[in-house]
């Protein structure tokens, strides 16, 4: 197990390098010349060349890339083109907020999703099952920003239970977490349901019954631990959607998080910020996946992930 973890960590290195390369190439592929854009209209060729030299854009691409990587490893992500503040600092202010939001959403996704899935599976074809599955289908199909706006409309504007926007208190977290987590919860619910249905048919469940165990012990003790295995994979895959979803949710609820930062940076062509934000987000994603792999391996020691 330990060797497995070490091996997977080593395997993340080429992934991270690849990510950094792609992120770096954003700079190269953006239409228009950053130096020209920066210099503004009516700038002389000399000014543009000076700015280009200042930004180091006249060096060979490979050198630029290595330079970039070296700086990143030292924590220097460059400065924002908008306000010249260090990119890393700007990200770090907002990152904790996004992480809080993400964790709250995962809580919704996993707990709500799994409970719904278990109820569905154990009462297959009942009214509860059909209702849950229809709701889950809606959850996957409805756009999250629309869902978020609807939640705001009903619960904030009309019923005044939750604040309309912003971040800070527990109440602020509820609607955004629901918005972000609903899609995932729906997928987890369906996955849990089908996984439980499969587990319930397994021979070892029959053995448990033949031992004289009570039904709920059989389902929760014997069945659930096995049913969780594919669900963990699904939850892991949800991280990608989660990180992307923070962008929309933070915009709808006006939350000052990483997602919104990246979106604004893209809009204003603040390339170092975009690079830094995407790189940080990718690193988080890679390590989240690693955690899921390890968790999966813990639950299912017979699987060889090589």
């Amino acid at each position: 197990m330990f060797l497995f973890i070490v091996r997977r960590i080593i395997q993340t290195i080429p992934v991270l390098l690849g990510v950094s390369l792609v992120v770096f190439l954003i700079m190269q592929m953006v239409p228009g010349d950053p130096a020209t854009l920066l210099a503004g209209e009516g700038a002389t060729k000399q000014t543009i060349e000076m700015i280009r030299h200042q930004l180091g854009l006249d060096r060979p691409v490979i050198i630029q890339y290595f330079d970039y990587v070296v700086h990143v490893l030292q924590g220097d992500f460059g400065e924002s083109l908008r306000n010249n503040r260090p990119v890393l600092d700007e990200i770090m202010i907002r990152l904790p907020i996004t992480i809080e939001l993400a964790l709250a959403s995962i809580f919704i996704t996993v707990v709500l999703g799994m409970l719904a899935g278990i109820i569905s599976a154990t009462k297959q074809y009942s009214a509860a099952d059909i209702t849950i599955m229809i709701v889950a289908l809606l959850g996957i199909s409805l756009p999250s920003f629309w869902f978020g706006l609807m939640l705001i409309y009903f619960f904030s504007v009309n019923l005044h239970i939750f604040p309309v926007a912003g971040w800070g208190t527990f109440k602020h977290m509820v609607l955004p977490a629901l918005t972000l987590g609903a899609g995932g919860a729906a997928i987890v619910a369906r996955m849990t349901r089908s996984s439980m249905l499969e587990v319930v048919r397994q021979d070892y469940m029959r053995t448990a019954r033949a031992k004289g165990l009570k039904e709920h012990v059989i389902i929760y003790k014997h069945g659930l631990k096995n049913a969780l295995i594919p669900v963990i994979t699904v939850v892991g895959l949800q991280f990608g959607a989660l990180l992307g979803g923070t962008v929309l949710t933070e915009s709808v609820f006006a939350i000052n998080g990483l997602g919104r930062l990246i979106v604004d940076a893209i809009r204003t062509r603040d390339l170092p910020m975009v690079q830094g934000g995407v790189l940080i987000a990718s690193v988080i994603f890679v390590f989240m996946n690693l955690a899921v792999d390890i968790l999966y391996r813990y639950f299912n020691k017979r699987v060889d992930l090589n």
């Binding site: 060797l3 070490v6 091996r7 080593i10 060889d304 090589n306």
Partner: protein
């Protein structure tokens, strides 16, 4: 019906075949060890005979079959089919050889594509090898179905409409479709009920006579093996422990494992007496097989040399080879 082997042609010659499956581990996922599924075996199959490979799970019998078919590439060794060196053939040439080298699998429920009709399955076999021109294929399919005891109407039905025994017949028809010389039966009747098994075994025997087929019959069931074989080869943990013609093996088994195997089978016959040898313990792992004779850890007769030296297959009587230090 004893087969005179002296002047028969060798159809398949297996020489020092090894099949090792790598196990990855360690920090960088390197190959740390191997599953020695087949560990240096050599044998021949003569034209027109049925050679059975018998043994328990993990002995390497199925792996041997798959290696011959190159479904898994052998780690080392030589396989000659007729004149051709099988392992040196490229993909294109190998595909041509497959016309002569067919297989029937164990699971009648998994080996037929559920989305194809029986007719389509058989047609595909005929088309791949181009055995008959397109116009004649339908007639040939009807003929094949007749050979295996199925009605021509079966052509338009799907596998799930048939029972296990009938699907196995389709599997046989598919193997027959291309006029093969050698058919490898990998546990072909193991998944069938006893009474169906009897029907399919009778069918295989009659087809062999009709079409001069050669069978390599892989099975764990010694009763079935007795019924259908001319010669029998017993494997244990990747090695051959005994090869002999059928009568010899059943009347006079020599290797302690063969004797234990035969004695372990419950026989519903009050008259049939045999000494009971019950082996202790489980089969060792093929990853780290015991040194010397693989069987020495469970052998009631093991002596010192058994632990250190690998016994060779030696002729002990006519048409009877055994790999055992005690017999020497």
């Amino acid at each position: 019906m004893a087969l005179q082997l002296v002047d028969k042609k060798i159809l398949l010659n297996v020489d020092h075949l090894k099949q090792y499956f790598p196990i990855k581990g360690g920090l960088l996922g390197r190959t740390v060890n191997h599953v020695k599924a087949v560990d240096d075996i050599s044998f021949q199959i003569y034209e027109g005979e049925t050679l059975s490979i018998v043994g328990e799970s993990g002995c390497g019998k199925s792996t041997t079959g798959r290696a011959i078919l190159r479904l898994d590439e052998p780690t080392s060794g030589n396989i000659h089919f007729g004149e051709k060196d099988l392992l040196s053939l490229g993909k294109k040439e190998m595909r041509k050889i497959r016309k002569d080298l067919q297989v029937i699998f164990q699971d009648p429920f998994a080996s037929l594509n559920p989305r194809q009709t029986i007719g389509q399955i058989l047609n595909e076999a005929l088309a791949i090898q181009n055995v008959v021109p397109k116009e004649e294929r339908k007639a040939r399919i009807e003929e094949l179905l007749g050979h295996v005891g199925l009605r021509p109407e079966a052509m338009d039905r799907y596998p799930h409409e048939f029972s296990g025994g009938q699907r196995q017949r389709v599997g046989i028809a598919r193997a027959l479709a291309v006029d093969p010389k050698l058919i490898i039966c990998d546990e072909a009747v193991s998944a069938l009920d006893v009474s169906i098994q009897a029907q399919v075994l009778n069918l295989l025997k009659s087809l062999q006579k009709k079409f001069s087929l050669t069978f390599l019959f892989i099975s764990h069931d010694l009763g079935v093996v007795r019924h259908i074989s001319d010669r029998v080869m017993v494997m244990y943990l990747g090695k051959i422990v005994e090869i002999a013609d059928k009568k010899s093996i059943f009347d006079n088994p020599q290797h302690p494992y063969t004797r234990a195997l035969l004695s372990a089978i419950p026989v519903p016959n009050p008259v049939h007496k045999r000494e009971r040898i019950i082996l202790t313990g489980d089969v060792p792992s093929p990853i780290d097989p015991p040194s010397g004779c693989r069987f020495h850890t469970r052998c009631p007769f093991a002596i010192d040399i058994c632990k250190s030296r690998v016994p060779e297959l030696k002729l002990s009587e006519q048409n009877h080879q055994v790999a055992c230090h005690i017999i020497d």
